[in-house]
């Protein structure tokens, strides 16, 4: 009971400390520079003033993030099955998986704009590229992280490879998969926001949080810029919450990490 209360209380107490620090910092700045760290009331006012713009941008970024994230999850599952199937395949492909993560998005951005065109498809591809790696690495690791003894048991019982995969390896991989999913859930919204900044479009006033941030920045709307950042964070938290709930739903019956002994 107590610990549950603490779980809400501690972060909130820390938040009020942060906000207090912010206000103090704001007032300690020379007046000509205060706009860089605006009074908190002005950031709240920005939410009201720019509410419709922020909401429509958040909706756009949310769906592109979700699309790129889901695509990454699906492709990662398929790729992990292939990678886990043979040491040879892993050795061959692993460097390229890493390269996929290493190629800077700012280099991919102009190429995507010319091949796919600015807008949602390009944003989704960038989000996919950002979210894919943690998923595939974790899931592959999970598929391989089965105790030797259990594999032997399956082999002795003459289980087919499919049975081994479905009944042994897949369940063992689930916690790893969800770890990857949680990392990617943090990356996907910020990935979609950055992608929108680099390869998005504001056609018909329909743009995501990235273009919105670009415009607020160009127009020196600093409070609105901070509001945009907070909306981006909120999207990240929301996606992490959904993934955590999903992980709980799937794992809490049997996995150690959800046993009641753990604090």
């Amino acid at each position: 009971m107590n610990s549950r209360l603490l779980r809400w209380f501690l972060p909130l107490a820390f938040a009020s400390l942060l906000l207090l620090g912010w206000q103090l910092l704001h007032h300690s700045l020379p007046p000509s520079r205060r706009f860089l760290l605006p009074d908190l009331s002005r950031i709240f006012a920005a939410f009201r003033e720019h509410g419709p713009t922020l909401l429509s941008a958040a909706r756009y970024t949310a769906w592109t993030a979700l699309a790129g994230f889901s695509l990454a999850a699906l492709v990662a599952i398929a790729a992990s099955l292939v990678l886990a199937s043979s040491h040879l395949v892993r050795t061959t492909l692993y460097p390229y998986l890493m390269a996929l993560q290493m190629v800077p998005i700012i280099i991919i951005a102009p190429i995507l704009i010319l091949w796919v065109g600015p807008g949602a498809p390009s944003v989704i591809i960038v989000t996919f590229l950002i979210s894919f790696f943690p998923l595939v690495v974790n899931t592959t690791q999970g598929l391989l992280s089965v105790e030797r003894g259990q594999v032997d048991l399956f082999r002795m019982g003459r289980a087919s490879r499919w049975q081994e995969l479905l009944l042994l390896r897949a369940p063992a991989a689930l916690p790893y998969f969800f770890t990857g999913l949680r990392i990617s859930a943090i990356l996907a919204p910020i990935g979609a926001l950055t992608a929108d900044y680099l390869v998005g479009t504001s056609t018909g006033g329909k743009s995501g949080l990235g273009i919105t941030a670009l415009l607020y920045s160009a127009r020196n709307e600093i409070p609105a810029l901070y509001a945009t950042a907070l909306v981006g964070c909120a999207l990240g938290f929301a996606l992490v919450a959904v993934v955590s709930a999903l992980a709980w739903l799937v794992l809490h019956h049997w996995h150690d990490s959800y046993s009641s002994n753990e604090k």
Binding site: S32, R33, F35, L36, P52, T53, A67, L71, A109, P110, L112, I113, L114, W115, V116, G117, P118, G119, A120, P121, I124, I125, F128, Y197, L198, V199, G200, T201, S202, T203, G204, G205, I211, T212, L214, L215, Y216, S217, A218, R219, N220, E221, I222
Partner: protein
């Protein structure tokens, strides 16, 4: 771009496989055809803008909002740009038929092999200038030696300054913000002086002063650029377009700008009436569209081959293209502009 789910997933996967160049749907800019009921079909034209819709696109938006493109048999789409507009690349690859850009950079792109043809002026002088605080002691380009300047690293004017004045300076990549400028009295940055000063004064700083690129002899236009193959196949449509475009500018500057401004606000809800009015007034006061030394509006949209010869000389002197590699007629034409005696 409006794409439904299945084709979106498909194009995503295709791009991942590196196949998207082939898979990417491309509009075929068909020549105007006459339908059975004798109403001519509209010629589709996509214009790639260099930035989000603002008064720098006033002529285009006024002509669009007044319906003058449609009257001329054209179905025009004004495609907003952003941090990565890639105007020249999109025009060269035919993803847009026309684009708004800057003339000297476009010369280099032509030299690199991009098919691009400059067909009309937007601004008789590209309004990219240096912004400085009013009390900054810097008076001249020579004083920039050793300074830190925020600018687009690819801006050829920077190379030009280094060579002409034998100076060097540090470039910070342009981040589309004026916050640093407002906060730092010493800050110098590139800016479109018909836009940024508004946000600087709104941010509480005094109005900045400018160093104009043309005062250093850098004679570039803001221009409309066409895909030359498309232009060759659709000369009548392009002439009709430029006619409506010039009419659009004249009406935007001399008449009621409300139609264009409403469209700009719809395309970009961040546009406020005060900003749109400021930017339009700057364009008028600085005579950017009609020409800084003009006394009438006859020069709207006009390009001067002699100025292109000077621009080519600039990039040749900078050793960015070999001498004689490009002729004026390779990079620009006036043949699609309306005949001259016209008021």
């Amino acid at each position: 771009m409006n794409i439904n789910r299945p084709s979106l997933v498909f194009s995503t996967l295709a791009a991942l496989l590196g196949l998207s160049l082939a898979a990417c749907a491309r509009k075929d800019p068909a020549a105007p055809t006459v339908a059975a009921n004798a109403t001519p079909a509209l010629t589709p034209i996509t214009v790639q803008l260099d930035w989000v819709p603002e008064p720098e696109h006033g002529g285009l938006f006024q002509a669009q909002a007044r319906g003058w493109f449609r009257e001329a048999g054209l179905d025009v789409t004004l495609m907003p740009g952003g941090a990565n507009a890639l105007v020249n690349q999109r025009v060269a690859t035919g993803q847009a038929q026309l684009g708004q850009g800057e003339s000297v950079t476009t010369l280099l792109d032509v030299h690199k092999g991009l098919p691009l043809l400059q067909i009309a002026a937007v601004f008789q002088n590209d309004p990219s200038v240096f912004l400085l605080h009013a009390d900054n002691p810097i008076r001249d380009f020579k004083d920039l030696a050793g300074r830190k300047i925020m600018a687009r690293p690819g801006w050829i004017f920077l190379d030009y300054l280094r060579q002409k004045y034998a100076i060097d300076f540090t470039i910070i990549p342009f981040n589309f913000s004026v916050s640093n400028f407002i906060a730092d009295k010493e800050f110098i940055q590139q800016g479109y002086y018909i836009a940024e000063p508004y946000f600087i004064t709104q941010g509480g700083a005094p109005a900045p002063k400018y160093l104009y690129a043309w005062d250093a002899g850098y004679d570039s236009y803001a221009v409309l650029i066409a895909n030359p193959d498309w232009a060759k196949q659709n000369p009548a449509a392009l002439r009709a377009f430029l006619d409506a475009y010039i009419r659009g500018w004249r009406d935007y500057l001399e008449g009621d700008p409300t139609p264009a401004h409403s469209a700009m606000k719809q395309a970009n809800p961040n546009n406020t009436d005060a900003f749109l009015a400021f930017s339009r007034q700057m364009i008028i006061d600085e005579k950017l569209v009609i020409g800084r030394d003009a006394t009438d509006t006859t020069r709207i949209g006009r390009l001067d081959p002699a100025r292109y010869a000077r621009q080519l000389k600039i990039v040749e002197d900078l050793k960015l293209i070999p001498p004689g590699a490009l002729k004026v007629s390779d990079v620009m034409t006036t043949e699609y502009l309306p005949p001259l005696p016209k008021m």
